[in-house]
Amino acid sequence: MSGSAFVYVTYIRSPQQKVWDALTQPEFQKQYWFGGHQESDWKKGASWKMFMPAHGLTDSGEILESDPPNRVVIKWRNEFRPNLKEEGYSRCVMELSTEDELTKLTITHTIDKENSQFIQAVSGGWPRILSSLQSYLETGRPHGDTRSADTRNHMKD
């Protein structure tokens, strides 16, 4: 298949249900997603929207598959940067599994476009978000807004 892909695997010392809740519930997302949050009921066919403090609505789409707390697939399009929006919908698969004391989290974000600027942007954003998530769940201390301009634009890097 031609296209662009970003894959990231991380192992977090936290129960799988807690990782799932952190990924899907706004009160947790706001703690580690640099103030951002998402709105969805996370059921198949449901709408999905992401909001960031500096931009309002940044991304939107639909839940394509949902199997809590194991797997969710999001149809995902950027809404606030014209060059990314025009690339159309991407597909983000989040997979969780339990390995002893760890939860394995795999993010696979793909789009049917070669050299996608959208995938390049999320390739910068995901490691920051998922590192912050791991710190949040393991230490209670997510990564703060310490480089505020960059951090607010985390999906634009």
Binding site: Y8, V9, T10, Y11, I12, R13, S97, T98, E99, D100, E101, L102, K104, P127, R128, S131, S132, Q134, S135, E138, T139, R141, H143, T146, R147, T151
Partner: protein, 150 residues
């Protein structure tokens, strides 16, 4: 044909602690389970050894660049020399106050698809455990963990 593997992680720590965690056996054994031995000077040999009593050399190579605590580049070779060497680069940068950005780039994998598959599975385990080690002191034996449904 296998392209480069790149993994970025952000850790609450200092560049010196990341450097020591990679290069000093007493730290590496805590989260990598294995450990690395070298004098970490350009041109020196390095060995990646099994953390058990055997200390078996699993990987070896040559230090290509060493700029503590910022950058370490080395070849990554099967000890039996059966395939061409690949290359690993550690870049350690201050990201924001207290937060270090570690980028691991493993490239020149074109001649060894099996190694490319192996390291793509291994680096996320090692680097997630490294982050846990430096932030919490807690680690897991990452080579023994089992999927509860598997």
């Amino acid at each position: 044909m296998s392209g480069p593997f790149v993994y970025v992680t952000y850790i609450y720590t200092t560049p010196e602690k990341v450097w020591d965690a990679i290069t000093k056996p007493e730290f590496a054994r805590r989260y990598w389970m294995n450990y690395n031995v070298s004098d970490w000077k350009k041109g020196s040999r390095w060995e990646h050894r099994h953390g058990d009593d055997s200390g078996k050399v699993l990987i070896n190579g040559t230090v290509l660049e060493a700029d503590p605590p910022r950058r370490l580049v080395m070849t990554w070779t099967r000890p039996d020399g059966s395939k061409e060497a690949s290359r690993v680069t550690f870049d350690i940068a201050d990201y924001s106050p207290g937060l270090v950005c570690l980028t691991v780039t493993h490239d020149r994998l074109e001649g060894d698809d099996a190694m490319a598959g192996s390291i793509a599975g291994g680096w996320p385990k090692v680097l997630s455990n490294l982050k846990s080690f430096l932030e919490t002191g807690k680690t897991e034996n990452i080579w023994l963990t089992k999927n509860k449904e598997g």
